[in-house]
């Protein structure tokens, strides 16, 4: 590339502290499995304008927190043929869900598959509650993911990529570097080679998902990682993948692993 990303990458040096007390790690040494692809791993927070950044620094200002409250109601609502709620089995999410987000997607031994948080939520809904699954990237799903994620805020993302998860991780990596669509662009073209650069009006970040689900000012709701992936693939003039598809599950594991060490930030705020 004519413009080396290193020289022009201009994320800021601000510190993210939430509610004046939760200190977030937003820049971290890359994990070995990145093979030197990024000199520093950075949260998307650094690439946003000061006003957008500020919204995430206090839960009273963070519009994503409303959805966390809504999910707390859902958490306590009995549904399905078993007439159970999440609380029936998991009681207080502040205890039972602490640290959970940080390790997802993760291998589930019994099911013999890599599971995203969304898949696990729906597994409990269907098989524990006898309730309808949430649509994969729907509002209620994003809200429930946010409620579970917020219990891990500030903890380092730590997804496992070896053992039985390795095959899925490899597939995700392949997708990350594939140049899809009529514009022939890969995730890496934008988020590895050009983070810090402007692409038209957008300041490119590293496309990390430690902040998901993300509240976007643009659509005033919580957005899932798969929803974002879908939009980014669509913007290459490609046939996109479906939220919840094997391809996006693999991609989620891979992208999450690129952010190992960053704090869980959800619900973060972006434009």
């Amino acid at each position: 590339l004519a413009v080396p990303a290193l020289v022009v990458a201009d994320p800021d040096d601000d510190n993210l502290v939430i509610n004046g007390e939760i200190e977030m790690t937003t820049k971290v040494e890359p994990a070995d499995h990145l093979d030197g692809a990024l000199p520093t791993v950075m949260s998307g927070w650094h690439f946003r304008a000061d006003e957008t950044q500020a919204l995430q620094m206090d839960d009273f200002d963070n519009p994503g927190m409303i959805f966390v409250d809504q999910a707390m109601d859902a958490w306590q609502t009995a549904e399905g043929t078993e007439d159970k709620s999440c609380a029936s089995c998991h009681e207080d999410p502040a205890d039972s869900m602490k640290g959970v987000r940080a390790t997802y997607p993760k291998w589930n031994e019994d099911a013999g598959e890599v599971r995203t948080l969304a898949m696990q939520i729906n597994d409990c809904r269907e098989n524990q509650m006898g309730a309808e699954p949430y649509k994969y990237d729907s509002g209620p799903m994003a809200s429930m993911e946010a409620l579970i994620s917020v219990q891990s805020r500030g903890m380092p993302v730590d997804v496992a990529i070896d053992g039985p998860a390795q095959e899925t991780w490899e597939r995700g990596k392949e997708i990350y570097y594939t140049r899809y669509g009529q514009l022939e662009l890969s995730c890496a073209n934008c988020h590895e080679q050009n983070y810090g650069n402007m692409i038209r009006a957008d300041h490119l970040s590293q496309g990390q998902i430690n902040g998901f689900p993300v509240y976007r000012l643009k659509n005033a709701r919580l957005n899932t990682a798969h929803g974002r992936f879908k939009g980014c693939v669509r913007d290459t003039r490609a046939e996109t993948f479906a939220p919840g598809s094997d391809a996006f599950v693999a991609l989620e594991l891979y992208v999450a692993s690129r952010g190992n060490g960053l704090s869980v930030e959800a619900p973060s705020v972006r434009n």
Partner: protein, 158 residues
């Protein structure tokens, strides 16, 4: 995207009344990616070319390139080199080659191929996210390429 499809169709219709443009699969690239023959035989219109370069729904070149001559259009990107003085660095044939298919000049470049219709991975129907059958319509018509080349040839600082 509807905009360029409409303008594209109009231009193709007009072109076919005369000789007909070189098809995307028939373009003759030189060893280093240049294209010496005009794709249409009709001289490019630099003003129309400037519009293609800055318009988000057409070439959208300034998503990646800065062009001082188009400074009235905000939000110019930083992915590729600024195009100021590009006519001093490259010949017309080289510029035509870069605009038609930059990958013939720069192996593996991030710049999209604007006059190519097949060989894509999961090609989509414009920005709908839905699948499309190849051959696709090229991103720019032959005449739009010629217009862009004509515009870029005006970007000389010497």
């Amino acid at each position: 995207m509807r905009l360029w499809t409409l303008t594209g169709a109009a231009i193709i219709a007009a072109g076919s009344a005369t000789a007909g443009p070189v098809a995307p699969t028939d373009v003759a690239f030189g060893e280093y990616g240049s294209v010496s023959e005009s794709l249409t035989g009709v001289p490019g219109d630099p003003e129309a070319g400037a519009n293609v370069v800055k318009n988000k729904g057409i070439g959208n070149c300034i998503a990646c390139h800065q062009v001082s001559a188009l400074s009235d259009t905000p939000f110019q990107g930083e992915i590729g080199p600024p195009l100021d003085g590009v006519a001093d660095r490259w010949s017309e044939a080289e510029i035509r080659g870069i605009v038609a298919n930059a990958k013939k000049t720069y192996d593996g470049t991030m710049m999209p191929s604007y006059y190519k219709v097949e060989g894509y991975i999961r090609p989509g129907d414009a920005y709908t996210g839905k699948a499309a059958e190849e051959p696709l319509d090229p991103l720019l018509t032959a005449q739009q390429i010629e217009d862009v080349v004509a515009f870029l040839m005006t970007l000389s600082e010497e």
